[in-house]
Subunit: 213 residues, 3 copies
Amino acid sequence: MTVSYDTTTLLHTLYLIAIVAEAMTAALVAGQRQMDWLGVMLLGCVTALGGGSMRDVLLGNYPLTWVQNPHYLLLTGGAALFTIAVARYMHKLRNIFLLLDAIGLVVFTVIGCNIALALELPFLIVIGSGMITGCVGGVLRDLLCNSIPLLFRAELYATVSIVTGVLYVGSETFDINHDLGMAIAMTIGLTLRLLAIRFKWGMPKFIYSGNMD
Amino acid sequence: MTVSYDTTTLLHTLYLIAIVAEAMTAALVAGQRQMDWLGVMLLGCVTALGGGSMRDVLLGNYPLTWVQNPHYLLLTGGAALFTIAVARYMHKLRNIFLLLDAIGLVVFTVIGCNIALALELPFLIVIGSGMITGCVGGVLRDLLCNSIPLLFRAELYATVSIVTGVLYVGSETFDINHDLGMAIAMTIGLTLRLLAIRFKWGMPKFIYSGNMD
Amino acid sequence: MTVSYDTTTLLHTLYLIAIVAEAMTAALVAGQRQMDWLGVMLLGCVTALGGGSMRDVLLGNYPLTWVQNPHYLLLTGGAALFTIAVARYMHKLRNIFLLLDAIGLVVFTVIGCNIALALELPFLIVIGSGMITGCVGGVLRDLLCNSIPLLFRAELYATVSIVTGVLYVGSETFDINHDLGMAIAMTIGLTLRLLAIRFKWGMPKFIYSGNMD
């Protein structure tokens, strides 16, 4: 796979924007739980970097991203702290943050796929690696805030990650330009996520009132 | 230790049945929490494969089972999805699933012990490896469903895993056939678990109403 | 860095006292949740050894401490079990346990820093390694008991770990005796923690009542 220099730079820039956005929305959740400032920073770091960490731990892919790039901790922790100062204005930016979160989802997914592809892992694991990278940060945030992970109940989220991953990895098998395939996968994933938010699309729910206990 | 080909095959077959059963009961728990279909599948995978994953991460035993055998993800995710269709009939199969869960517990335990034995780890860690393999999947399920892990409160469960592990590993030190020792350990463990369910045997509880805060 | 034999022994002795104290306080929390005896032991082990385990898993530093020293499992599990017998007297020892917990915090922090220093990791990761070692055990305890981790809400705790780590690692860069630097860092950290308990010092809280959902 040949990746152009510009694409790598663009993906990395989007990654940095995305981890900042994830840390900032996590900070608001921390504020709803009345956490202290350090708790806000830690929750920001865990949410932004936890998906990639879980992926690397499960794949045995050491060192972890933030161990190699400690400034990511400063960036995400700092973004969370900054959020405390600007929280009162953030509801006005609600739509921008929903957009950034959606961008983060597809960017994290593609990065997670890339890492599993570089390790030459099988297709299903590549898709799983993308999904873990995209979704687990939010799961950890919800666990630490003592709520059932939204992932398992909300609008298309993990689904978007899977669709993005399948399109992206699938495009590799066709004879089309790698960058183009990635762009198409990310655009479709992003569109799907935004439509899902707009029209409250969700997977069907499984409602079971029986009791096996 | 010499393991006969038949035993290995039998253990593997029981393992496959057990992860399917674990995924299906996890799916019902997901349904009680009204998770969406993808959430049901993910909870099924995590519950069925999470114990082995935790063991391998803690022991540094890479690659993880499902990374090497991605079809386990399809099997457990598919079983969870299938559960949605047959949920209404499952309470009639309640006793079968309790039996399968108990079989899973002792099978997971023996497999976990085997992996630690192959790594030539000390006795206590071998027992711990068996218990983690047998019990942690359910702990992760309960955490993701935001309830206190049943493991810490229910009938003999982790205890059964420890008993099974101790009997199995202990039988290695005596001069009896490996397969026979394993069969005895698993049978006693299984019987103990079923009796515990039937007669509601549990470890004594520690009830502390004081306050150290 | 030259560490005197006596210091290593002292640090190790304090470590053993600290994991026993952590296991015992975790046992009381388990009793408040009416866990069974095995659950009490497991929660004791996870709380006492979980911080170091998380650190080693995140840093890829295998084998984990308790895999190499299985008797730590006996020590912490046994301490938790012993707590059941003496629980009724423990509120009289409340202040001693708060002191032991504070000592544990700074000892775990210094040990975590040492491990990251030995791996020649960057400054921020060394501090993070100390904080994870010092704080994550309690986070895991709270997660398994289904409560929002106290770490994110209580008096200075993670902050004390960071201060201790920064002072300790910072003292390395100055031309002072290693043991002296460590002693100063631990004393200041310990004092800060005890003052924080006494005067209910906490980080400012971030209270956000808005809604981004």
